[in-house]
């Protein structure tokens, strides 16, 4: 039996006497870890946070750390290969709270040996000086690896205010997190800056974009080492580009343009409604800086474009609303009829040679189910369409009933609208934004299942037939990190590597002059 080797890098804070003392205490405490020899066996599984019981993890994921979700004096967890596994078993690994993080190298060794098989986790808890042993549980180790990086925006689940916003990137193979851009670099006193909608072309961190609003606002576009700030406002389009979709290989982005409003519930648990009073689709050509209207029917509320991986089909959502009362503003009428906004999923064909789009075609008739479907995302093999469904509207992150559904695009025409809820992924609370890994075997999605208010990223394995495994919460070096954090994860996106441009460089670009787009008509 070996003691855990602590990864001290995560603990030692330079120039911190207090932290140093803490580390010394932790080292002293953790080096004494061993499996209790005297304990009482209980029949139940341990109630742990995050809940990693029976989850499937990629072979290259960072160590999973957890704690007993109840007051205990101490905890010991023992990770071993399940008996009968084909590989030669490495030494078992022990962790304990609060020195939860197992050694990265030992963890990697264990997962490599266990891939395609199961890890067995024994958990011991100490209460009042006595140890108990819970029923062991398994963690399935998939040989399918996951993209090494994700990026997300960290934002408090506030309603109007945004003081500090960051777009961060996190290495999934360890706990390293860094800031891609921080809005405080440009915010000045009462002139704040909002940042949103980071997006990549085919998981490529060298081809990315994000928006900045208000102070020094504009759309920042990175393309193979070139960075520019684009002013996408133009009198001929509804607004600057909002929700983006990069074409898989062309320097070409489709955006929705949205006049977004929010209103607050006095008592409803959903607390807020975010809705569009108008929205369209536009295209933007990175090389010519030209924008075109793609869809601008005033009775249609188009949003959330998404390209199929073959680059020949554009998916998007749209709700239909005819005006009924011309005596009030469109904004007010939309507010009063917000529950009538039912978004369906449509698609348009696209010719990458001529840049021509075909007519729209209904893909998923959510309105017929009295539902509203948004955020379509096509799997890299082009077979599955994953989307979020709620009762109405499109901002489902604030809807507790929002769930993930999936549609098999290769199914027969008669069943093309028969999407199904992803029962393995969904919870009684919100599931919303989601993204496929580049190999199509993993999805990462936002969920508020922990507490109903703060969004956390969950990752799940999807097999070739579209079956999902039990998802697991993004591993953190300290298991209570998410419970102590007042930030939500927003728009988790996979990346093949890290963004290497510094936040200060982005700030320099944003403080400079933008490139203005030219309007080039209707597509």
């Amino acid at each position: 039996m070996r003691s855990i080797k602590l990864n001290l890098i995560g603990f030692i804070r330079p120039m911190s006497f207090i932290s140093l003392m803490g580390c010394l205490w932790l080292i002293t405490a953790c080096t004494r870890v061993s499996i209790p020899t005297e304990y009482t066996q209980v029949d139940s599984l341990p109630k742990i946070y995050p809940d990693y019981v029976d989850v499937t993890i990629p072979v290259n994921i960072a160590p999973l750390t957890f704690m007993i979700d109840a007051p205990v004096d101490a905890m010991v967890a023992n990770y071993t290969m399940l008996a009968g596994s084909p590989s030669k078993a490495p030494s078992p690994m022990l962790t304990t709270s609060p020195c939860e993080a197992p050694s990265l190298s030992e963890w990697r060794q264990l997962l490599t040996a266990t891939q395609g098989s199961d890890l067995l986790v024994e958990v011991f808890a100490q209460r009042g000086g006595k140890w108990i042993r819970y029923q062991p549980f398994t963690i399935h180790v998939s040989p399918d690896s996951i993209d090494p990086y994700i990026s997300y925006r960290l934002i408090s689940p506030s309603f109007v205010a945004y003081e500090v916003l960051t777009i961060n990137q996190r290495c999934l193979e360890n706990y390293d997190e860094s800031v891609i851009y921080d809005n405080t670099l440009c915010s000045e006193n009462s002139q704040g800056q909002c940042i949103n909608c980071h997006n990549y072309q085919q998981y490529n961190p060298g081809r990315m974009q994000f928006h900045a609003r208000q102070k020094d606002g504009g759309t920042v576009i990175v393309y193979d080492g070139q960075i520019k700030k684009v002013n996408m406002r133009n009198d001929s389009i509804l607004s600057a580009g909002v929700y983006p979709a990069w074409h898989p290989w062309l320097p070409f982005i489709v955006y929705s343009t949205d006049k977004t409003t929010q209103s607050f519930h006095t008592t409803d648990p959903n607390k807020i409604e975010v809705y569009d009073s108008e929205s369209d689709l536009i295209t933007y050509n990175l090389e010519t800086d030209e924008v075109c209207n793609l869809e601008n029917d005033t009775t249609e509320y188009e949003v959330f474009p998404c390209w199929a991986p073959d680059g020949k089909t554009l998916y998007y959502c749209s709700a239909h609303l005819d005006r009924q009362d011309s005596t009030i503003s469109k904004e007010l009428e939309t507010l009063r009829r917000v529950q009538e906004l039912k978004y369906n999923i449509y698609r348009k064909s696209f010719n990458p040679e001529t840049f021509a789009f075909g007519p729209r075609e209904l893909v998923f008739d959510a309105a017929a189910l009295d539902k509203s479907a948004v955020l379509p995302r096509v799997s890299p093999d082009g077979r599955f369409l994953l989307f979020t469904i709620g009762t109405f509207g499109y901002f489902h992150i604030w809807h507790h009933d929002a769930d993930l559904w999936m549609l098999d695009l290769t199914a027969s025409a008669s069943s093309v609208s028969s999407g199904e809820p992803m029962k393995a992924l969904n919870s009684p609370d919100t599931e919303s934004y989601h993204s496929w890994s580049s190999n199509g075997r993993w999805v990462i999605f936002s969920s508020r299942r922990d507490d109903g208010s703060f969004t956390r990223p969950f990752i799940a394995h999807i097999d070739e037939e579209g079956n999902a495994s039990r998802p697991f919460e993004l591993p953190m070096s300290r298991p209570d990190a998410h419970r102590l954090s007042m930030k939500s994860y927003n728009v988790p996106e996979f990346m093949r590597g890290p963004v290497t441009i510094t936040p200060q460089t982005f700030a320099d670009i944003l403080k400079g002059d933008p490139v203005n787009v030219r309007y080039a008509g209707h597509k």
């Binding site: 205010a161 006095t266 200060q504």
Partner: protein, 611 residues
Amino acid sequence: MLKSFLTWLLALILIAATLLLFESDFLWKTQELNLFLTTPDFFSQQMVVSGGLLTYLGTFFTQFLAIPWLGVLMLCGWWYLLMWLTRRTFRIPHRWSVLMLIPVALILITIVDMGYWVYLLKLRGHFFVTTLGVTSVVALLWAFRSLPSRWGLRSVFIVLTCISGYPLLGIYGLAATLLMGIWTWRLTKKGESAVNFLLALGAVAAVPLLYYRFVYHETNLINIYWTELPLFRVMDEYHAYYIPYYLLLLFFVAMTVCYRPTVVAKSFTDSPSSKFARIRAFAPQTLLFLLIAYGVFHFWYKDENFHHELKMQRCIDRADWSGVMDEAARQQDEPTRAIVMMRNLALSRLGKQGSLMYQYRNGSKHAAAPFNISMMQVIGGTLMYYQYGLLNYCNRMCMEMGVEFDWRPEYLKYMAKCAILEGDWPVARKYLGILHHTLFFNDWAQQMEAFIGHPEAVANDPGMGPITHMLHYQNRLTSDQGLIEEFIMRQLAYSTDASDPYFQEQALLASLWVKDPKVFWVQFADYLNLHPGADIPIHYQEAAYLFGNLEGRNLSNVPFDQRVRDTFASFMGVASKYEDQDVEPVREALYPLFGTTYYFDFYLMSNLPAY
């Protein structure tokens, strides 16, 4: 030595006594707005900006104001250390020990002159940060002076001070470097002095830029030289509040410029021997002491409404409704709307609003703050939404304020209570879990955890119980537009739920506020149904009599008190003489006669400004 000690001790005792006697509510509020967590992540989060260590220590010490005498004792202890260090560093003779009170007085002013900035300052731990920063500067200067003047040690020390001082202490690290650059002219040979001076200037200019470019990503370039200074900005900048900081710098510049190693060292232990010399030494010290005391008194923020608001908030936090009314009885000035709302809330909790609410002075005085923003939001927004049961709005305001001003125990407490009242246990556990990592809110969090899953205990709790009676609003999609009182009153007035007598009476009171007869009659009818045979509070009678007369209703069979009829007749008679006159003089003239009636409120207290 003993005289210095006694002078300083006397001054510190005076300051401590004044803070504890007259500013206990301010101290309470300061710690309610100060979050210090015992987690490693909290430390890491502070260190992502220059001066993070000062913020960390500032919030650490500020939390001890939860035990006011302990917090003040710590502050005074730091000040004593500062005075002692300053005298040692600059080798000030004992007879000038009163000079050491100048930086302490200036730091004290930065605290007690804050007033409404206490709600708005974004610098965490401000209460202690200046003290800790200045003390660090003096300690660094002492080390600088103590270094031998050879091998370029002082040059190295200047650079090291800037490189390590800026990330840890922010502007105080830069100030220490700059002061070393000035002081070097008094401490070292001219050639070396010039080098050191240029090094200091160069380091002060370059080090923050280098840190900006390669280390910190949470500070705008325009702010990198001012980290750890409180930013007195709302929409505009309020430069007057920086004067104590300028004077602090000036004081230490003067110390370094006037420093004379040989003369000062000689006189360091001097004490005048003759009686005349003692008087001559004593007189300027006394004069200086009095001047400092006067300066502190002059700049001490003494606004009456500010202090009433703090006291009332503190009483409400303890569900001490009588305490709120005791404070209301001390009101001399025209009250702010926050005071009026808190007073009415206390009256409603005591069951007396319908009969006593106009016995107290009404008004809408602008908070005595330099900035022109809606102070109701920061003073009483969360409190009012919570107490009136608009929990979504309380939660929202806490979120917004937490994002704007960083997370404070006050917001976390309100959000936890809202979640408990809504039966949203997981998120309640989250907020309480964070408070478990504090030293002084842990007990409160443990008490609150006992309510999770026990709505019956919530209903019986003196603090939360009354709010369970307020959860009868209809859901609407709307926005408060920053007008909190109007929003609450309109939500209540147009409520149709009459299942809970307490909530229904609040709706009736709100109908008086909106001054809409149609709304009033609906709520009044519900009130009469819920209180058959009970005496009708005087102000409800006045409203009914007033609206009845305005609408020409037959009120002969309604048993109004005779004084209601008499006062109305008298009011209408007198008021008719003031027709077509400006409301202000009429209000002044009629207040002594009818200020305690709804008639006066209806006609003369409409359209009050909402600050």
